[in-house]
């Protein structure tokens, strides 16, 4: 067994099994911290043993058993501190199943626990990315533009609160669901985005496991709450973005921007399903929320057979709606990119310059700026903007694309 294929097996198992192992251990031991540490130790052991001993015939089973043993070891080590309840749990291999909430899905329970309203909104997202999506603390810190130490502490504090305040591990009952769902949608969208533009030099540019998991869970939420417009909107949004996945990275591993993508390679079935959901929301006649607006924009893009047929005035009108809901600099940046298509790069660049202070460390800002400067023929400034964008971009395909673009400039 070569080291690299064992490493691949660990990576694959991590993607496929992390959330399940954490979820099942959390249910069994009632402790997020124990579950996560034990899962992490099991994977660390696999990294150590598999290259030498070979990948076990049933990697998932091996990891689960190992994690369970680690959890029991850890609880025994700590159980001098009188935790009788935990001791009692260890004696029973199979707990009688607790009554299930509205949905029978371990990962969904884990998500609703991590997204409990007693936790601060940012903490909910961070915790879900760690516990459910299995992202590392540095990956999450990067997505939030904060230091690793700060992110690590935030996650630790959240787990401590869940334990001390006894936040339950369950999907809320039907009457409580609507109030809890918006936090969950935010989290699923962030998980999807991390999958769609994965960060890290050792990571695939697109992590299909994360996009697939986010879509799967969005479908569950949508089935649970068929009248929730934003749940439908988020699912539509994800489907319409996912439909373009295969055209988004070239054979040489370079990011292909929307305008240059082979539209024939877009997934027609996903687009049809996404469009159907967008039409359904329009027919409902309710004021759309953020995800419905974003889904509508993506419906405009995916309706154009050629990039030149794109109805940019429609896109900008949708951004105007979005700005009213969310006046953040990131929305303003994206609106400016659409405005460039309608009113030209000069107008868009003027808007960007006003955002420079807020978005100095946001790579997409420098990407947009570099592109506008390039189109305006300001090569030297464009090069500098590409340099900064490359410095900040964490996605390998994007770095490759930006590097080529920069090197085309003289």
């Amino acid at each position: 067994m070569s080291g690299s294929s064992a490493q691949e097996a660990v990576t694959r198992a991590h993607r496929e099994q992390w959330a399940r192992i954490v979820a099942v251990l959390t249910r069994r031991f009632g402790d997020l911290d124990v579950a996560e540490e034990a899962a992490a130790e099991a994977f660390a052991t696999a990294v150590e043993l598999w290259p030498a001993d070979g990948v076990p015939p049933n990697p998932a089973g091996w990891l689960f058993t190992t994690a369970q043993r680690k959890a029991i070891d850890r609880i025994r080590r700590e159980s001098k501190r009188e935790d009788k309840q935990m001791q009692a749990r260890l004696l029973y291999e199979d707990d009688p199943a607790e009554p299930l909430g509205a949905i029978d899905d371990e990962r969904l329970r884990l998500i609703f626990t991590c997204c409990h309203p007693a936790l601060a909104p940012q903490t909910r997202v961070a915790l879900t990315l760690r516990m459910v999506a299995g992202l590392t603390v540095p990956e999450i810190a990067r997505a939030f533009l904060v230091s690793e130490t700060a992110m690590g502490q935030r996650i630790t504090r959240a787990k401590a609160k869940i334990k001390a305040a006894r936040i339950p591990y369950r999907v809320p009952s039907a009457p409580d669901l609507p109030g809890r769902v918006s936090g969950v949608l935010t989290v699923l969208y962030l998980v999807f985005n991390e999958g769609y533009l994965a960060t890290g030099p050792e990571t695939d540019p697109i992590r299909r496991d994360l996009t697939a998991e986010a879509i799967r869970l969005a479908r569950l939420i949508r089935a649970l709450l068929p009248d929730d417009g934003e749940a439908a909107g988020l699912l539509a949004l994800m489907l319409l973005i996912e439909a373009r996945r295969d055209s988004r990275v070239s054979a040489s591993g370079e990011l292909v921007p929307l305008a240059e993508q082979d539209r024939g390679a877009w997934d027609a079935a996903l687009i049809a399903e996404g469009h159907q959901l967008v039409r359904e929301r329009l027919a409902a006649g309710e004021a759309p929320g953020r995800y419905q607006i974003l889904a509508a924009m993506n419906a405009v893009h995916t309706s154009a057979r050629d990039v030149r047929d794109t109805d940019w005035s429609q896109v900008v009108a949708l951004y105007d709606l979005l700005v009213r809901l969310d006046p953040s600099p990131i929305v303003a940046l994206n609106r400016a990119i659409a405005v460039a298509e309608l009113d030209g790069p000069e107008v868009a660049l003027a808007t960007l310059d006003q955002l420079a202070e807020d978005l100095a460390d946001y790579h997409a800002f420098h990407v947009a700026r570099a592109d506008l400067l390039r189109r305006l023929g300001r090569g030297r400034q464009a090069r500098a903007a590409y340099d900064r964008a490359i410095e900040l971009a964490g996605n390998t395909a994007e770095t490759a694309y930006l590097t080529r673009r920069r090197d085309q400039l003289r």
Partner: protein, 108 residues
Amino acid sequence: MHYLLSVIADDETTTATPEEDAAIEVFNDRLRATGHWVFAGGLGSQGPATVVDYRGDEALVTDGPFIESKEYLAGFWIIAAADLDVALKLAADGSKACNRKVEVRPFL
């Protein structure tokens, strides 16, 4: 699992109205009937509070509350609840009954 539900008042001059008192009694009866009741009490204003500090060589007694604050503790419930969701629901009903903010904290 026990939780402390602290009643946070932001105006020390107002005491509970008869309507609030009546609503609190209804809520207390419900806590007793459903097995969540452990103990509860209303607290007097901070005026008569006294702070004792015997961490040093002698016990120092100071007049007044231990902290100057716009908000103060007007009363509390100690409840038994299976988990935080149950405690939060009871806290919401308690807040409605006494017409004050309520802080929920688990006992160790």
